[in-house]
């Protein structure tokens, strides 16, 4: 199913806008800023989880079985990220004891973000990292791996995902 660059651009933009709006929507209806952020984060993560499960099913269709956990993480870094963002994860680190750190140096959904005060951007961008965390966690759980995924944003557009296998 070949798609033109234009079609891809339209789809990616639409997705970007949808996610931005969804995050705002999830933040409604709460009194304090902290509650808002936690609630929005949790809901987005759950959404990402479900979407990730479906995507993983599609992405692993014609692939041979995974030999071990490292292969599963490599799949996330390469094929899964390629499917989502047309690029791969830039850096993968592991401590070989079930903790993996994935670094994306120019995360697609952060590429056009900026705040009034430049220093605040990473903090505000954190809520937007909930959905991709959920995506990774959903994909992993549908492949049979129970994990927890946390994101760190040092400076937009860079984003780091830390996967802890349970």
């Amino acid at each position: 199913m070949a798609e033109t660059a234009q079609q891809r651009f339209v789809c990616d933009s639409a997705m970007d806008f949808l996610l931005m709006e969804t995050v705002s929507l999830m933040q409604e209806g709460f009194d304090s800023i902290d509650e808002e952020r936690d609630a929005a984060y949790a809901r987005m993560e759950q959404l990402g989880h479900r979407v990730g499960m479906g995507l993983a099913e599609r992405a692993t269709r014609d692939r041979p079985r995974f030999a071990d956990n490292l292969e599963v993480v490599k799949f996330i870094c390469k094929d899964f990220w390629l499917l989502l963002f047309n690029k791969q994860i830039d850096n993968l680190k592991t401590n070989h004891r079930g903790v993996y750190v994935l670094t994306d140096s120019s995360f697609k959904w952060f590429s056009r973000m900026s705040a009034d005060v430049a220093a605040e951007t990473p903090q505000l961008a954190l809520v937007h990292s909930a959905f991709p965390c959920g995506l990774i966690r959903g994909a992993l759980s549908s492949l049979g791996v129970s994990s927890s995924v946390v994101a760190e944003v040092a400076a937009v557009p860079q984003c780091t995902f830390q996967i802890k296998f349970r």
């Binding site: 499960m53 692993t60 692939r63 995974f66 492949l143």
Partner: protein, 159 residues
Amino acid sequence: MESSSVGAAFDATNTSAKPPSSFAVLCIAVIGKNNNPLLVKSFSTRHQELKFHYCCHTACDIVEERVAPGSKNLDLYLGLLYCIEDLAVYGFMTNTKIKFIVVISMSDAAIKDIEMKNLFRRLHNQYIVLVNNPFYDVEAAPKITSKKFLAAVDSMVLG
């Protein structure tokens, strides 16, 4: 309607439609991650559905043996799992630990691998469509009631 002179047991409920493959599928089953049956669809007039439940139950154990860590075959298609009485059971396990089981009646004609793989591939594609339906709860893994999926399974066997 059976006729034992016509090759092996052609055991289909609808004899006027020609099945798309050369063998007669008696049962198609989809088993979830936790070995819970999502769908056990029987196309046999001769065997009870319970029998196919037993077949799938045994098949689960065999599948787990085949995919145990350390096995060299990393294919999704698991081939013939085992034979019991006049039935042959074939298996396929996706990367997301969903198992597809196909039970056919054994015949003298050789079953081509490629035809089995085609059947499993079509099943897998339908299952992917089902999972991407937001109204289907993958984690709770209830029995499959989607009309689209059931219709597709019927068309795979009955043509």
